[in-house]
């Protein structure tokens, strides 16, 4: 959001949630976004501006207007590590099972939302790996400018703060979908059950 603002895109935020240790650069959020299911009246004022939205709420975007969506992708282990730290600061103690379950839920959700986005004729999407933005801010700024049109890429790159890239995980930044098959023994057991009922 900071990059878009620096590049010349008006941002639609309310400054309700102020910068803190988890996000020293600020949140750039808009509380009205969270109520999009019930109330889209705020969207008229957001026309031509950028606002931030979690991917789960994309499904609720009204179909009567066009959208350009910059979809930030981050390594899921980093997302979960970041979430874990935030929960710990809130006095909660997430377990390894919680992390495992969260990763599965996120993976499934990302698969669904990307499939859904690909079918929406009123939405153009640019997928941006977070790691690329942190590692190559100028090249990333150019990509975003190409997608949005005519932004100041030098100013965009200048606001990137790689020192804030924490919870860095090993592995690719682009999310890889993992779908767990059953193991061989389970697959054989399934085939037997299916054969018993005449399905094989």
């Amino acid at each position: 959001m900071k990059m878009l603002e620096a590049g010349g895109v008006p941002v639609y935020i309310d400054n309700v949630r102020v910068a803190d240790v988890d996000n020293p650069g600020g949140y750039y959020e808009l509380e009205d976004v969270k109520k999009i299911k019930e109330d889209t009246s705020w969207m008229d004022a957001a026309g031509g501006k950028a606002f931030k939205m979690v991917s789960m709420l994309l499904f609720d975007l009204p179909g009567d207007r066009r959208y350009r969506i910059v979809f930030m992708e981050r390594n899921l282990d980093e997302v979960i590590a970041s979430q874990r730290k935030m929960l710990e600061r809130m006095g909660k103690t997430p377990t390894d099972t919680d992390d495992h379950d969260a990763k599965r839920l996120f993976t499934k959700h990302l698969r669904e939302v990307k499939d859904w986005l690909s079918a929406q004729e009123n939405m153009d999407v640019l997928y941006m790996p977070y790691e690329d933005v942190m590692g190559e801010p100028q090249a990333s700024a150019s990509r975003v400018s190409g997608f949005m049109g005519g932004l100041d890429t030098v100013k965009m790159a200048s606001v990137v703060r790689p020192e804030l890239y924490r919870n860095k995980a090993e592995g690719p930044a682009v999310v890889e979908e993992t779908v767990d098959e059953l193991d061989d023994e389970e697959e054989e057991a399934v085939k037997e059950r299916l054969a018993d009922l005449g399905y094989m």
Partner: protein, 447 residues
């Protein structure tokens, strides 16, 4: 709809036909269901193509067709290969009803819905149905596993033993239903849900193995069949009683995922393809679909799915996309429609992929899906070298005879929706009752 409680309950009866329900109500076997339907709605319903539980229940739980949710059968081919895999709950590509409720901070209890194994985390409780193997892996959260394992819950009838002994089957059916009922009523009474779904799958097992006992009033187990449905009706009565006492004003529905009828002949589609020159094998007997020889034009997967061996889609694909593919599909469709047994047509209808599957995941769908006439149970086994065979199982699924019951007050009495409801209409009805908007669902609310 007159309710505005934002809660809904649902009872599934796997494989229970509308026509069976009508018959048993008429015979006085199901007085509780009769009372409900006299003040509510009793509807005949179409299900998915193919009419198999994995596809039907996934369509029910997501509200979209297989080209959106991605499940086309109990087993499917790995992309590009002839190797089979079991599509499990993690392969479902659309949000379930309980996913949507969870996003809205609302709670679901889901008991024994097929195609939900292994259990995925949700806001609530879930224990998976067929083809669940391990109760721990089938259940979320741990507290639910502790309760279910403690009360001796059974995931399913032991179908291997059922094939060996009808006495073992009869006892297993009784005991499994008893535990299922206990679990369903326990969670229903508990009330900590906005959406309650409980499914009985014992009805499907009863029908697969003992439909002939229902069809023949003189059969030794005819009485057992009717008594079993008296037990089902008792469950329905207790379910309705809990709803009236503990959750007044909350609507509920009762539904089956497909119907059943008597199987007279099993029909082996891969054998037909071989007999008619569209397939040959490189190994006899074949162990898998990988034993289909080079040059095979088509192959079948259970129950009624025909795949063209297309170049670029399969490793040893030989049919050219475009004109050859279309000509072959038309030729196969015409021949399937002409297939006869003792002067009777075997196939009622042939559907092309693009006519029934619409969405981003249509690629794995069959090129042709067949719908048989009653009595002919279409099979995709690669190993059978006879075209027609009287099988061990006496019941087969039907596509047009599922049942749907709406509780009193959900819909105007005496009116049947036009056109005939489909299984896609049920999740749309549930979400409307819950007050959740879901524009991408494909069905229409029935109340």
């Amino acid at each position: 709809m007159n309710f505005d409680t934002g809660r809904v309950a649902f009872l599934g009866l796997d494989g229970t036909p509308y026509t069976l329900v009508k018959d048993l109500i008429g015979k006085g076997v199901m007085p509780n269901l009769k009372a409900i339907t006299e003040r509510g709605s009793l509807l005949q319903m179409d299900t998915t193509l193919p009419e198999v539980s994995s596809v039907a229940w996934t369509t029910f739980m997501t509200g979209v067709n297989p080209a959106v949710h991605g499940i086309y059968g109990f087993m499917d081919l790995k992309p590009g290969s002839y190797d089979m895999y079991f599509p499990n709950s993690r392969h479902i590509k659309a949000r379930t009803l309980w996913d949507r409720l969870g996003e809205a901070g609302r709670r679901s209890v889901v008991i024994n819905v097929p195609s939900t194994y292994p259990a995925q985390p949700l806001n609530g409780v879930l224990t998976a149905g067929f083809v669940a193997l391990d109760l721990k892996k089938a259940t979320y959260p741990d507290s639910a596993f502790e309760y279910l394992s403690g009360m001796g819950y059974r995931i399913d009838v032991d179908t291997r033993k059922a094939r060996e002994s009808v006495d073992l089957l009869v006892e297993d059916l009784k005991e499994t239903l008893a535990k299922r009922k206990e679990a369903i009523l326990h969670y229903l009474k508990g009330g900590d849900w906005d959406l309650f779904i409980g499914v009985v799958t014992e009805t499907d097992r009863l029908h697969h193995f003992l439909w002939h006992a229902y069809a023949d009033p003189a059969h030794a187990l005819h009485g057992f069949f009717l008594d079993y449905y008296r037990q089902i009706d008792t469950l329905i009565g207790e379910f309705a009683g809990v709803m009236a006492e503990k959750h007044p004003g909350v609507p509920y529905m009762i539904m089956s995922d497909h119907g059943f009828t008597l199987s007279e002949q099993e029909v082996y589609l891969n054998c037909w393809l071989r007999q008619n020159g569209y397939q040959s094998l490189k190994a006899t007997p074949p162990k898998s679909w990988d034993d289909i020889a080079d040059g095979a034009k088509a192959f079948a997967l259970d129950p009624s799915r025909i795949f063209i061996n297309l170049k670029g889609r399969y490793q040893r694909g030989c049919v050219e996309p475009g004109e050859e593919y279309e000509r072959l599909r038309d030729e196969l469709a015409e021949k399937f429609l002409g297939m006869e047994f003792d002067g009777r047509k075997v196939v009622k209808a042939v559907y092309k992929k693009e006519d029934i599957y619409k969405g981003p995941h249509s690629a794995p769908g069959a090129d042709l899906v067949l719908l048989s006439n009653y009595g002919f149970d279409l099979k995709g086994s690669i190993m059978k070298d006879t075209l027609f065979e009287k099988g061990v199982l006496s019941g087969m699924h039907t596509q047009d005879d599922a049942v749907l019951v709406l509780s009193p007050g959900m819909a105007d009495e005496g009116t049947a929706p036009v056109p005939k409801p489909t299984i896609l209409d049920v999740p749309a009805t549930i979400l409307k009752a819950l007050g959740i908007k879901a524009g991408e669902l494909e069905g229409r609310p029935l109340a």
